[in-house]
Each structure stands twice: as structure tokens, then as C-alpha cells.
Point group: C2
Chain length 457, copies 2
């Protein structure tokens, strides 16, 4: 798929597929231990772990009629020890991936199941084919992950729905990038059409930066690297803007109808990758509501059941929608503390066809903030975690009397800046919650030792 | 062990063991994926599940340096699919039990580990021997479970500490029971010295009921059945009394000292088994505090790290302490909703030597109530769960707009009155929370089908 037209056709198909799918969807009538529902997470990082853990923590797990399975590319991935079944394969290798999934769900047309893509580093074309030709239930719909991981398709969908977005252009070559920059005027943001977690993104201040930005995008792109999206950059975003992730959950209600529930998470990423997020968002209620409506339009167009994480930013009293993912989101992990039920559990239940009661704040009147616990920049790529000390963070929290916590993901190895865990704090003041979460993250970071650096193991 | 004197000696030993143990205890300095901490739950029901799940949910699990292992007597027990390792053995068979534990912890003197007894249906004498002779770290101390499961030893300890208790007698025969009843006057409660979950307990209104009560106690006793405890029954308990479980957590603080943190859960058990509990307790603060002091005395005497669940009741403005268990408690499961961190996680962290930040209410200003989801009285013993529908409870919660939830334990089979799950609701009104939890439990109960009754499987 290259350029605008094939994406417009794909969106057309996606939208009509959604309507057809939803005419067939029904709430899950029952779980049956003798004929279990099989829930597959393609990708078993912290998000997959959150989803699969909920199957055991709330629904009773295997003995109660839900078998969980997780796939990732390395041994010891976070969800591996939470899942009943696991496989270690290169998920970009379609044959290996299909073989792993079909090992868990032998007959997709008779076994109740769901396949959820936790990451974008997957042969999504093959997963799409498994869904549309062989009957696998890829959630929210086979098109959801495909459109969400493609920035051009996402932008076209957002535009089609009349949802406000910052001005953008598509460029399929360096020349087209120059032309686009000429039309938009500097500064601009250049992003590969396909990546995840913001890799390959540059802010370009003038003509001279275009070559490097294009090369950077190509180097970090997933799949075809020569296509980029160019966006007008609003400098006010850095000074007065707020970024939002609208967690849009499509789920059954008590009358068997599909409902859309939206929760707004605030976040800040000084670079392009996730650093911290908080709930509630702190954005004025009217803007938050406006953003929720825009986000719901996007999710409803693609349809099906489960979470869509729609990225927005608020600047100068306006809400701009930029992109989305069809899955729980990094920034949404703050729900593990901020809500009575986290985004992983919500996604699990919704995608299984369960009725989802209205989500509730766990600390009404307080803000909860989460902050990443990172491996240091000078860690050797692939260095094993040789030891860590939970007491470093716990002692800090206790000494200060904070409402705080840390979640260690359990990744066996690191690379520079790898996300190893998440720190959280709740307070009536958003500023205090963010500062505390940052301090706890820092204490946790300092407590982790890595093998190749320290040579202790 | 029979009669009062050997128990008094055991208590003496327990108390001096605790002081010696605590002089050696240190906070856990670090977790090491290459040389993991092994955490063993002897008994893998819902309480064991809560404890072991926390190892993965917060601390990263196996890849982060904690291997979890669970033992129970049947395949498909709730903690089995949460644990990294499991064994199915008759836990009252000392050889089988020791073989299972030593399979998980091969060298107790060099591997950091903890062994926690989730139930009383265990060869505790053997576990005690493993601790005192072979170096296994049985938490809170090897004496904790032993004293807690023995009502006579518990009563003697409570008495020794000067903690107020209702008047009681020990009886080693039907004749002694008659004599004790004569001294106390009717009504009385007759309980076997050793059982769990209140089995074998009778309220006796007059002379004529003594034979049946003694026989009932013997039939349900664990170990020697001829010893009973006789308590004066306070009829006001039923009309105006409140029962409390004081969850007493002994854990390290940020300065490396052992602290005692106490949380009071209210509960009501019309019979002798757990039906419902709530947090906060609703008991006047001064009485709650007085009860907390009494409970802490008991826990501190036995010492070590981890939870002691101390049972009390409040009647006529006085707090009476009746018994305790050295583990998370049925009634404490409400903490899964009422606190930011549940009793299983608190027990795990404390017993591992981690610093435990102050527990926090998850819904300040509200009461959370939990209510058991039971198998019906007419279910065939051993009947498999053939199906269940989470949507029954979820639809009710959603329709009513309640803050509610249900936790299905995932037990593969049932017997009459078996606890299959727990329903919860939170509200500003304790009465409303209790009523809602009961309605949700009832919806969940109605959604479970059992094989031998319905013949569907």
C-alpha cells in the first residue's frame, strides 16, 4: 500500500466492515471451563501483561474458562509468566506468527477467542489475512490495528470524519517533503508513516534540516520507509499546550447494545516517546468533552469492541486530533492507579463481549500521575538486569508519606532508555503528583543494576 | 499436644523465638533474577492467589527475581494458574508436603525464600520441623500458624497478654464440657480446639444441647477432636454487636525497623463462616483504636513479618479479642476494593522483607463491602462448574450505576455452600454498600451452572 488512494479505499472497506461486523456481534453469553475462551496477546510487554493478568485476577483464569496466551520475540517477556501459554517468535515473520497463533486457537471458527495486537512490530498484513480469510477474531476489527499503525491512513480517516486536526501533508520522497514544507511553512514535524512509540520523528526548523529529518524517518520506519507525514508544528504546544490520550472503550451495555465510553488522560512527552501521564487530564471540562466527541467519532468509524487510544493536543482553546492506536496505550497505564479498573482489564472485558460497568476514579478529587522508570542511556544494549531493589522506591514513598507506588515490569534485559517500570503518585495537586512520581521513578531507576555495565553477573 | 500446660510452654518458646528471630531479620536488600527469591504458598485458594498474583502484578515476577509456587490438594486450584510452579498433594501428608516444598526450595539455607501457610489443613507439625530443624523460612514465624490454628493456645496467649476476651473454659471431654457450661452458664459457644473457617461450632442454649455440640465439634475437628473451647455467648452480639478483623501487618519501615500497621475490617457471619465484610469498619474510632492496640499486642508477641488477622467483637462499648490467624484473612479480601493495595500484596511484601508504605483507602469517604458468592446447598459434592456468565453481575452493576465488581475465583468444582467468588460494592452508606454487594453476589450465583445438577457437561 503506497500513497493516498489505496488508503482511502482501505478506510472505505474498514468502515463498511465495521457495520457488517457489528450486526453480528453479541454479548458473551457464558464462559465454559470445558470449552474455554482463548485470549491471545500478540506482543507481551507491560500492556499485554495488564490485559492478560485481568483474566486471572477478576475472571478466574483457566479453571473458569479463559485460557490466556502471549507471544513476543524474547524469552522472559513481561506477560510470559502471567499467561497460561506462550510462544517466542519473531512477530514480523508471518509464518512463525501464524503458526504460534494457530497453535493457541486451532479452529478459529469453532473456538471462542480474541487476538489482540499489543504492538505494531507485527506482520499486520498476515494478521489481517488470518482475520478476513480464516476467521480469526482480531480485535477491535482486522482493520483497526492496520489503520491505526499507518499515520497516513489515520490522518485520512480523521479528515474524512471532519475531526479537527493540525494541517498536514503526505510526502513520498524528499522532493515531496520539500514541497510540503514550502506549503506549510516552518517549523514542521516529520514522521514516518509507520513506526510505533514516536520513533523516527523530527521537528524541523528550516530548509536545512529536511534531509536529516527524512533520513531519520527512513531509518526508524517500519515497512516502507520512504513515506512521511509532515505536520505544521504549533510552537505554543510546548509552552501552553497539553497532550491528551482519549481512551475510547467500545463495549456492550446491559441491554446488549454497543456503547462508547471515553476517558481522557493527560500527558507530556518532551521528546516523542512516553514519559509521564496523569488522570484526570486537568484540561477544562468543555475542551475535554469536545475532544472525547472527536475521539469517539474515530473509534466508532472503525468499530468493533475494545479500546482505541486517540491522541490529541489542546492549544489555544482548540482540540486537535493527531493519531490513534487500536489497543491499550502507554499513557493509559496510569489507570492502574487512577481507576478502580485499569485499561488492560477494560480492554479484556470489552473485547470478550462482556458488559462493562462505568469506569470509576479510584481517588476522586485527586490526580494520579505515572512516570516511566528508564534504563540509563549508557547501558549496554542487551545488558541483563542483575539486581534491583524495590525498597529504594518504597522507602522514599514511606518516608515522605506519599500515596505512591512502583510497578516493575520484569524485563530481563535493557537497552539505553528502555522502559523498565512505572512509578505513580496521587495527590490533590497535579503538580505534586507529577513531581512525586518523578522522584519515585528516579529512586527506582537508581536501584537497578545492569550486567554488562557492572559486571556483577 | 494436649491440655493447657504444653500449650503454655509452646507460647513461651514462641515468644522467645520471635525475639531471637527479629534480632536476625533484615530488610530485603535486593532481588536478583539470576538467583530468585522463591515464594511458596501452602494452600492455593483465593487468598494464596491474591498473594502470589501481587508478585507478578507489582514486582515483575520471575524475570524480575521472584519465583512463585503454590501447593493445594486438587488440580485447577485458584492460585495454580497464577504461580510459576505448582504441586498437587495432600497437604496433611507430611512427607508429600515436605517433598513438594523442598522441590521448590532445594537449599533453604542458601536460597532466599518464604513459605506461607494459606490454610490450616496442613501437617503444621511437619512444617514447624522443616522451619526449626532444616532452615525453612516459615512466615511470620514457625510458631505463628501453629498457635493461631489452635484455639486453646490462642486463648492462652491472649490471656497472658492481658488482652480482654470473653470468659472461656477448656474442656477435654464431655464431662469437662458439662462442668465448664455449669461455670459459665448458658448460652455458650462450643468450638473444637482446631478447625478452620468456623466449622464445628455450636451455640448451646441449655444442658440438653451439650452432647450434640460436643459431637459436632469432634466431627469437624482437625487433628485430635476431643478438645473443645467453651465461651460465654453474649446474646447482645447478635442484636447490637459488630465483629472486627484487625489486619495487623508487621513489616519493615524506611529505617530498617519492624513496624506494626493495623487496619480494621468489619464483618458479619450469621453462622460461623464468612459471609460479608466491609472497610472501614464503621465502629467508633476509639473502640477501633482500642481493638487495634489489643490486636497489635497479639501479633507483636508472636512476631516476625507479615499479616496476623485478629478476630474481635465489639459489644456494649467493649472490645473482646477471640482468636487469630497468621495469614491474610477471608474477611480481609474486601481490601481488594477498599484499599489501594490488597491484603495479599501487603502480606507478600512484608514477608519478603520489603518496606511497606502506609496502606491507603481506595475510596476515601466510602464504605466498600464484600459478599461471598456461594454454590447452592443442593449442588452435588464435587459437581463441576460447567459454565458461568460474568455479564449477569456486570449488567446489574451497570444498570443500577453502582460502584461494584465481582471476582470469580475459578474453582473447577463445587460442594454445597462452597465459596466460588466474591462480590463487592462501595458507597457512602455502609447499608447501601452491603445491600448492593449482596445483590451482585446473588446475580453472580444465579449465573453459575453445575454439572451434576444440570447434566449439561
Amino acid at each position: 500500500m503506497r500513497g493516498i488512494e489505496p488508503r482511502e479505499s482501505a478506510i472505505e472497506e474498514a468502515v463498511s466492515y465495521a457495520r457488517e461486523l457489528e450486526s453480528r456481534l453479541e454479548p458473551l453469553d457464558r464462559l465454559d471451563p470445558g470449552d474455554p475462551f482463548v485470549y491471545v496477546s500478540v506482543g507481551g510487554g507491560e500492556l499485554g501483561d495488564l490485559v492478560l493478568t485481568a483474566a486471572k485476577r477478576s475472571l478466574g483464569g483457566r479453571s473458569a474458562g479463559i485460557v490466556t496466551a502471549a507471544i513476543d520475540r524474547y524469552q522472559g517477556f513481561p506477560a510470559q509468566d502471567s499467561a497460561d501459554l506462550s510462544a517466542v517468535v519473531d512477530m514480523r515473520d508471518g509464518d512463525a506468527l501464524e503458526s504460534a497463533i494457530s497453535g493457541f486457537v486451532r479452529d478459529p471458527r469453532s473456538v471462542r477467542h480474541a487476538v489482540f495486537l499489543e504492538v505494531e512490530a507485527v506482520d499486520t498484513a498476515r494478521v489481517f489475512e488470518m482475520a478476513t480469510r480464516r476467521g480469526y477474531n482480531v480485535v477491535s476489527t482486522p482493520y483497526g490495528p492496520l489503520v491505526g499503525m499507518d499515520r497516513l491512513a489515520s490522518k485520512l480517516l480523521i479528515e474524512r470524519l471532519g475531526v479537527p486536526a493540525v494541517e498536514w501533508r503526505y510526502a513520498g520522497s524528499l522532493e515531496e517533503l520539500r514541497a510540503a514544507a514550502g506549503e506549510l511553512g516552518f517549523p514542521i514535524i516529520v514522521k514516518p508513516v509507520m513506526t510505533s512509540s514516536g520513533h523516527g520523528t523530527s521537528i524541523v526548523e528550516g530548509e536545512g534540516g529536511l534531509d536529516a529529518a527524512y533520513e531519520h524517518a527512513m531509518r526508524h520506519a517500519r515497512g516502507r520507509g520512504d513515506e512521511v507525514i509532515v505536520e505544521r508544528y504549533l510552537p505554543e504546544l510546548r509552552t501552553e499546550g497539553v497532550e491528551l490520550t482519549q481512551l475510547v472503550l467500545r463495549h456492550f451495555d446491559e441491554d446488549g447494545r454497543i456503547r462508547t465510553t471515553v476517558l481522557a488522560v493527560g500527558h507530556s512527552r518532551p521528546g516523542a516517546v512516553y514519559v509521564e501521564s496523569w488522570f484526570p487530564s486537568g484540561v477544562p471540562a468543555e475542551l475535554e468533552r469536545e475532544g472525547a466527541e472527536h475521539a469517539a467519532k474515530v473509534a466508532n468509524a472503525l468499530g468493533g469492541l475494545g479500546l482505541y487510544a486517540v491522541e490529541q493536543f489542546v492549544v489555544g482553546g482548540r482540540v486537535y486530533t493527531s493519531e490513534f492506536a487500536n489497543r491499550p496505550h502507554d499513557t493509559g497505564m496510569v489507570t492502574r492507579w487512577a481507576l478502580a479498573e485499569d485499561e488492560g482489564s477494560l480492554h479484556l472485558k470489552a473485547t470478550m463481549g462482556l458488559v462493562v460497568p462505568a469506569p470509576r476514579a479510584a481517588h476522586p478529587g485527586s490526580f494520579c500521575a505515572a512516570r516511566v522508570v528508564l534504563a540509563p542511556d549508557d547501558v549496554a544494549p542487551g545488558a541483563p538486569v542483575t539486581s534491583w531493589s524495590p525498597n529504594a522506591a518504597y522507602s522514599l514513598i514511606r518516608r515522605r508519606g506519599w500515596m505512591g507506588d512502583v510497578w516493575f515490569f520484569g524485563k530481563p534485559t535493557a537497552y539505553p532508555g528502555r522502559r523498565m517500570g512505572l512509578a505513580a503518585a496521587c495527590s490533590r495537586s497535579l503538580r505534586a503528583a507529577r513531581a512525586r512520581a518523578a522522584s519515585i521513578a528516579s529512586a527506582a531507576e537508581g536501584s537497578i543494576s545492569y550486567g554488562a555495565l557492572h559486571g556483577e553477573n
